[in-house]
Symmetry: C2
Subunit: 169 residues, 2 copies
């Protein structure tokens, strides 16, 4: 709970103004992208990232635990989401041949078609809502600042941003 010993520095006017804007951005940008995907593809952002991650793997498959890191979600959330994608016929699951504890998720041909079909629309929306609004420098700065923040909010996935791989691979 609140520790009364060390007093809290409230936000200055400038800090508050910046924080309000940042808060609004972190609330509206993800949901705007989510809305586009739901509308045009019938899936949400998390499911999109699952399909995208699988499609970028050379084998079009990944272990569930690796996929969870790439898609930035808990294993439980992933398990439910892959269940839905499986029911739609875009993903299959099978126990790993080498280690019966692992489960491999793999993109079906239909899933491959699906992601190929919807990716352009999604990228277009990312451009429209973010990238095309900013100069290359602004975008790079925003990226660098974000990386800094992620270093505190989610150190595990900060590593992913630097190397493109989960830690220990």
């Amino acid at each position: 709970m609140t520790s009364p010993d060390e007093p809290v520095a409230w936000l200055s006017d400038q800090e508050r103004a910046a924080w309000m804007a940042i808060l609004a951005m972190t609330m509206t940008l993800p949901s705007a992208l989510d809305a586009q995907l739901k509308r045009d593809a019938g899936i949400n952002t998390f499911e999109y990232h699952i399909l995208a991650a699988l499609s970028e793997s050379p084998t079009r498959s990944l272990q569930m635990s690796q996929l969870a890191v790439f898609a930035q979600g808990s294993l439980s959330r992933l398990s439910h989401a892959v269940g839905r994608l499986e029911r739609s016929g875009w993903v299959r699951r099978q126990p790993s041949a080498h280690d019966g504890r692992h489960t491999e998720a793999l993109l079906t041909p239909a899933g491959w078609d699906k992601i190929q079909q919807i990716a352009p629309g999604h990228v277009r929306e990312v451009r429209r809502l973010l990238i095309d609004l900013l100069s290359p420098t602004q975008l790079a700065d925003l990226g660098a600042t974000s990386r800094l923040v992620v270093g505190t909010t989610a150190p595990e996935s900060a590593h992913l941003l630097d190397t493109g791989l989960p830690p220990g691979i």
Copy 2:
């Protein structure tokens, strides 16, 4: 759906790197703040902003529709959330005296105590996860960039960021 006429410019390496980091930030920062509030105060971010907005009003009360703008949520979401806060004894609702269509939400004494008690912890977390990591310039830049993005993702609430008031007030 995807309009095949105008080809999509895929992301460059720099754009992609920035976008991955920004995405990670927009996913992890809100949920980290949410976790702190749930843990220390038993409420979520949206409910926090409801209490905060009410506490900042001179009358400690707001119309539901105004409150929805300040707390950045739909009226339906607000109605459910205020219902929960009402059950906890922190908020009350009453029909407006002037216009029977309007409902006024008002902070109870217990609600006032609650927000006074939990605000410091929340601010401390905002500092820890964001503000203290950045230089004043970095923070201001991030704020300005965010404002720009919100101008496209949510033009209505962009106005709020400039004036501190909902449009038309």
